[in-house]
């Protein structure tokens, strides 16, 4: 049943021209065609057509998609993530207009929407413009200041999310540090892939220390849509388009969702088990004497019924936890090359 499929929210943030929309178009083209057995499909056919047409325009004519503008407001997409034919999750994806996070004027509609949205989102994508990072590496004037200014805004927003979630006793969202235009960094960051990743991890931790907390799942994903260099116009050479790891952020969001769901279901199962044990003790105590057996018959029956319910509930929760762990394992196969910060440490999932 469609209603039984869990739904998650993904919120994408980033400065104007950081490549959010291009990333979304590329990611959709990639995942809708299938990654192993995983597929992402827009629920609305016209959205599917629009995203696919935008990708075709890139691949065939080198035309980059138009960035999200203030006039266009936020863009909302409803996707279904499938394993094979079966739907696994419904995904509500919001792409905020470039630079919305800079506006502290809450009278602007999408700024207030963003604040509300961040309060309940399951995964946040912080888009860092790879061109800006490249400028910093090349020691271009004012690049460091621009970067710190952009990062400062994210840090403040993420701090607000953390406080809001803490107050409401909610699990924090997973965070993807999405570094776009990764092709620009490849030549500037020295060493092999592993060394570059290590450097990116250190960089991310230095730039956004607020995110690297024990209870937050974080991934650093350097992506690119090809070897297209610095953009000087809205056209690129289609021959140079070769998407690089653009599926990883989405796979990580789902991995983190299932990882935490598995923990939550296991915790509920553990609680049910504990409660059953408590009831069992109460029952055993009440039957210790003959008088107790005679007088507490009704209470014992109620306890038996309650324990039966709890055992069934425990089994259901254990089953759900196992299902989530299984999905985690499948998703983990796609994340072997992705630096992830989980439970307070950088981790290789396998």
């Amino acid at each position: 049943m469609a209603d039984a499929i869990p739904a998650i929210q993904v919120t994408m943030l980033g400065g104007t021209g950081s490549g959010k929309t291009t990333y979304l178009v590329g990611m959709y083209a990639h995942l809708s065609a299938g990654l192993g057995n995983f597929f992402l499909h827009a629920d609305n056919r016209d959205v599917d057509l629009d995203l696919a047409s935008a990708w075709d325009a890139m691949i065939e004519d080198g035309l980059l998609p138009q960035p999200t503008t203030e006039e266009g407001g936020l863009q909302v997409f409803d996707f279904t993530f499938r394993y094979g034919v079966d739907p696994l999750l419904r995904l509500n994806w919001v792409d905020y207009r470039g630079g919305v996070i800079r506006d502290r004027d809450s009278s602007k509609q999408d700024v207030s929407q963003l604040v509300a949205r961040l309060g309940e989102t399951d995964s946040v994508y912080i888009t860092l413009d790879g061109a800006l990072l490249a400028d910093v590496l090349e020691k271009k004037p004012a690049a460091e200041t621009k970067l710190q200014s952009a990062i400062g805004r994210y840090a403040r927003t993420l701090g607000e999310i953390a406080d809001q979630r803490d107050t409401q006793n909610l699990i924090p969202p997973s965070v993807v540090l999405l570094i776009t235009k990764g092709d620009l960094l490849r030549s500037l960051l020295p060493g092999d892939v592993a060394q570059r990743e290590r450097q990116a991890r250190e960089w991310a931790q230095k730039l956004l220390p607020q995110v690297f907390r024990h209870d937050w799942d974080v991934a650093v994903c350097i992506v690119s849509i090809g070897r297209i260099g610095r953009l000087t116009s809205s056209r690129v050479d289609p021959g140079e388009l070769a998407p690089f790891r653009i599926d990883r952020p989405m796979v990580f969001s789902l991995y983190s969702y299932y990882r935490r769901a598995a923990i939550a279901f296991a915790a509920i199962a553990g609680k049910a088990e504990q409660e059953t044990a408590d009831h069992q003790r109460t029952r055993d105590d009440s039957r210790r004497t003959l008088l107790g057996r005679l007088l507490n018959g009704k209470q014992q029956q109620q306890l038996d019924a309650r324990m039966g319910d709890l055992r069934r509930y425990h089994d259901v929760m254990e089953g759900l936890a196992a299902e989530c762990r299984l999905r985690c394992d499948i998703l983990a196969d796609e994340l072997l090359d992705t630096p992830m910060y989980i439970e307070g440490a950088w981790t290789a999932v396998r």
Binding site: S32, L35, R45, D48, G84
Partner: protein, 295 residues
């Protein structure tokens, strides 16, 4: 049974319909024949099919066509089915366009789907390989929440014009889709390289593959009815007592368990009489389709 053809413009859907009809209506395969219910459609399809043998290809569909047909085995009708052909461009139009909306609705209600891929295009064009995504996306949505078996045929058309040793490579963009179908309990797929021109090849396979599941579904339903009726009959027969016959039957005038058992046996017998003519054709279809690889 509803069978829907899906494919981009010039993928060969309309040609296939004509070639399949000519072969299945005039020659038949293993005693199986197809016949249109409407005489005009019968004549049109035959004319177009005969034209194909001379190398005259029908114009692509500019709108939705629906043909109501019957599969026969020898003289007996086995199953009625509707074959739906859509304008190829409907796949690339927005859902507000009428025939795109109809296509999506037809797919949701389809009992079988035949995907048409132009093998020449696939061999020569990266864009054609990318367009596979448009097909699979709508098929995934149509398959969601199904509980009955849905056959899916990937019909690779114009195979007489390509180097067939390259088919596997051409189908690489289909890999994830095929893998997904393979893992889905309720969907069974097959790949059929075909030619619909002067030397038709494998044109009978897509239609017979789809219809096998339709016939089988009917037969399974009859077997279930038969078993249920037989079980009822046994239940009533076990409750047949002298008390029931005398008190409930004679004095109260109600139907006795013995009579109810006889009714249920009659129902079971009727079901068996409906089922029996289907058994041999099903076996024959299984024999005909046996060599076909499924996923």
């Amino acid at each position: 049974m509803q069978i829907v053809m899906l494919g981009h413009t010039n993928a060969g859907k309309t040609s296939y319909m004509s070639a399949m009809y000519r072969t299945m209506a005039l020659e038949g395969i293993g005693g199986f024949r197809v016949r249109a219910k409407n005489e005009r459609a019968h004549q049109q399809l035959l004319t177009a099919g005969t034209g194909l043998l001379r190398g005259t290809y029908p114009a692509p569909s500019d709108r939705r066509h629906e043909y109501t047909l019957t599969l026969r085995h020898a003289a007996s009708p086995l199953i009625d089915f509707t074959w739906k052909d859509h304008r190829g461009g409907a796949l690339r139009d927005r859902s507000t366009v009428d025939d795109t909306r109809e296509l999506l609705e037809d797919l949701t209600g389809a009992d079988a789907i035949v995907l048409f891929l132009d093998s020449v295009d696939l061999q020569n064009s990266e864009a054609a390989r990318r367009k596979i995504r448009n097909l699979t996306t709508v098929v995934f949505q149509a398959l969601e929440n199904r509980t009955g078996t849905t056959p899916i045929v990937i019909a690779l058309t114009k195979c007489d014009l390509i180097d067939e040793s390259r088919i596997d490579r051409m189908l690489e963009p289909f890999g994830s889709f095929i893998q997904a179908i393979r893992q889905q309990q309720y969907v069974i797929g097959t790949l059929v390289p075909m030619a619909c021109g002067p030397e038709p090849r494998n044109v009978d396979v897509p239609v017979l593959f789809c219809l096998y599941f339709g016939v089988r579904h009917h037969a399974d339903a009859m077997v279930a009815n038969l078993n249920e009726a037989a079980a009822s009959a046994r239940r009533f027969a076990a409750r047949d007592t002298a008390y029931d016959r005398w008190i409930n039957g004679r004095l109260r005038g109600e139907k006795t368990n013995r009579e109810l058992a006889a009714d249920a046996y009659l129902k079971a017998e009727r079901e068996y009489r409906r089922l029996e003519p289907m058994l041999r054709p099903i076996q024959q279809l299984e024999h005909l389709l046996g060599p076909i690889e499924i996923f």
